[in-house]
């Protein structure tokens, strides 16, 4: 089984960080995986994105062009990638920042007001982790296991105080209905 995930949003929304967290989670679960960031002008042009592939088999191309899961954290990202999602796939939308609905009817869609919830938690920069929490909940290929271990890998020791905030955000998304 192979799950191709595309995180997309503005630079600064923690797109790469959320992807890295899932990549580490895959590593802890002894899965095959790859993580590939966009770099360069695209970051300035509006969308930053990050391809994460988690698989039971060796990963071929690390570029996700037809995602099983799309995390859209701004409108340009949804506009750009909505049509690329495979039929039967999943789209997670930050509904605080994206007002429109997903047009596709052959994919599962989850609207999470991640940016608003992050603000309410007092950690406005962690919308990325809230939406990731929801992804973990809804995506069969990704379990809740090893979550804290993976988080320890991406939250550097220097910023250990942010660990609880991140965990809190993930759980908030995980429990969001």
């Amino acid at each position: 089984m192979t799950t191709q995930i595309l995180f997309a949003g503005f630079g600064g929304q923690g797109i790469l960080f959320a992807g890295k967290f899932l990549a580490y989670k895959g590593l802890m679960e002894e899965k095959q995986l790859s993580w590939l960031p966009s770099y360069g002008p695209e970051m300035r042009g509006g969308t930053a994105n990050c391809s994460v592939i988690i698989s039971d088999e060796p990963v071929g191309s690390p570029i996700v062009s037809e995602p099983d899961v799309l995390v859209a954290m701004n409108l340009p990202s949804l506009d750009k990638y909505e049509d690329a999602v495979v039929p039967g796939g999943m789209i997670l939308v930050d509904s605080t920042l994206i007002e429109r609905k997903v047009k596709r009817d052959d994919v599962k869609v989850f609207y999470i007001p991640a940016t608003r919830l992050a603000g309410e938690l007092g950690t406005p920069t962690l919308a990325n982790m809230i939406i990731t929490g929801k992804l973990i909940r809804e995506c069969d290929a990704i379990s809740y296991d090893h979550l804290e271990d993976a988080l320890h890998k991406v939250v550097s020791a220097r910023r250990a105080n942010l660990f609880d905030a991140n965990l809190n955000a993930i759980n908030c998304g995980y429990q969001y209905e």
Binding site: K20, A23, Y24, L27, Q32, L33, S34, W35, L36, P37, Y39, G40, P41, V59, G60, S61, P62, I63, S65, K153
Partner: protein, 353 residues
């Protein structure tokens, strides 16, 4: 067994180089290889090594030349425009028969080009690059694991054959993270009696030099060097063959293009099309024999490249144009997707049937 860690390709090169005993790194900032220099800047001072940000790529490669003259393992890294600047120094290093590692994390060109991944420095890497008759051993990683493993190998081969080696990667390989098992610490201690370390008044002075004003002498050094190259072509070719046993269509691709091509092979096989892949791991020496062997049973080759078609020449030559070779490419920082490769093979199939 060693622990699997998650690393960016650029960082894996740096750590593998350190574990291969490299304690001297010289570079100049350029995207998309900056993580490599940053890693070295952080680590080298802690292990008694040298990280130096040179005033230019030109200076950096000449600092490499200096350290290589002393017989120690040394490297530099850059991306396409910066590697062009290093060509003079690389020619001197080759002409002085010195081992050193040059890493090129390629980006689109020509000129300032772009910063997205590319393979358009293939000619430069495999056909010499600078002035004069010479080659580099050129290794092309297709995973973060290979970024590490081939770095070790590149140092060993450079020492063994007394010549510069190059890791020819691209922006994707540099930027992506994958699990990697880092190579064990090792130093391939080959005796280097030619190195300049001071005579200690024990021997005649050593001279590191590429100047031979007597043409007969210069010719002799060239012939001797090419004898070594012939040995390398015989003994150091590396490639991966994927689903080639019964293949009718042979994709040839390296680096990121090979990763995408593998997906295409799987998809084509699922459709009943007998596709296979030859992935050169060394592009100099080029895996001529497996290509020639494949030509006996395939209907055609597809050269999948992130360039306007450079490796395609070597595929044609390797099999004396016996079977047609078509190009499936993107350029300027774009990457072909599996669908494009599948379409290219299906178009060939249509032509054949």
């Amino acid at each position: 067994m060693a622990e699997k860690v998650l690393m960016k390709g650029n960082e894996a090169i740096a750590e593998a180089a350190i574990r291969a005993g490299c304690r001297h790194y010289f570079g100049y900032p350029i995207t998309p290889q900056t993580e490599l220099a940053a890693y070295m800047a952080k680590r080298m001072p802690k292990i008694g090594g040298v990280f130096l940000q040179a005033e230019s790529e030109v200076a950096a490669i000449n600092m490499v030349y200096g350290v290589a003259s002393t017989g120690k393992r040394v490297m530099t890294s850059s991306s396409s425009p910066g590697v062009s600047l290093k060509q003079e120094g690389i020619s001197y290093i080759a002409g002085s028969d010195l081992p050193a590692l040059i890493v090129n994390v390629q980006r689109g060109g020509p000129g300032l080009g772009g910063i997205q991944p590319s393979q358009s420095d293939y000619y430069q890497a495999t056909k010499g690059g600078g002035h004069g008759d010479y080659h580099l051993i050129v290794l092309t990683p297709a995973s973060v694991q290979e970024m590490a493993d081939l770095t070790s190998l590149a140092f060993d081969l450079a020492d063994k054959y007394r010549m510069p080696s190059m890791l020819l990667a691209d922006g994707t390989m540099g930027q992506m993270m994958e699990p990697v098992i880092l190579p064990e610490e090792h130093v391939n201690r080959i005796d280097k009696p030619w190195a300049v370390t001071g005579t200690q008044m024990q021997r005649k002075h050593n001279i590191i030099n590429s100047l031979y004003l007597v043409p007969e002498e210069l010719e002799r050094t060239n012939f001797e060097r090419y004898e070594r190259y012939a040995q390398i072509e015989k003994e150091e070719v590396r490639y991966e063959s994927y689903m080639m046993d019964d293949a009718e269509y042979c994709l040839v691709a390296f680096g990121i293009a090979a990763r995408v091509s593998k997906n295409a092979v799987v998809a084509l096989r699922a459709k009943g099309v007998k596709a296979g892949l030859i992935r050169p791991i060394t592009v100099w020496p080029f895996p001529k024999a497996p290509i020639a062997e494949a030509a006996k049973h395939v209907k055609a080759f597809v050269s999948v490249e992130l360039s306007m078609g450079q490796m395609i020449d070597d595929i044609r030559l390797a099999q004396n144009c016996e079977k047609p070779v078509v190009l499936c490419n993107r350029a300027g920082g774009m990457i072909p997707d599996p669908a494009q490769i599948i379409a290219a093979v299906e178009a060939l199939k249509g032509g054949n049937d």
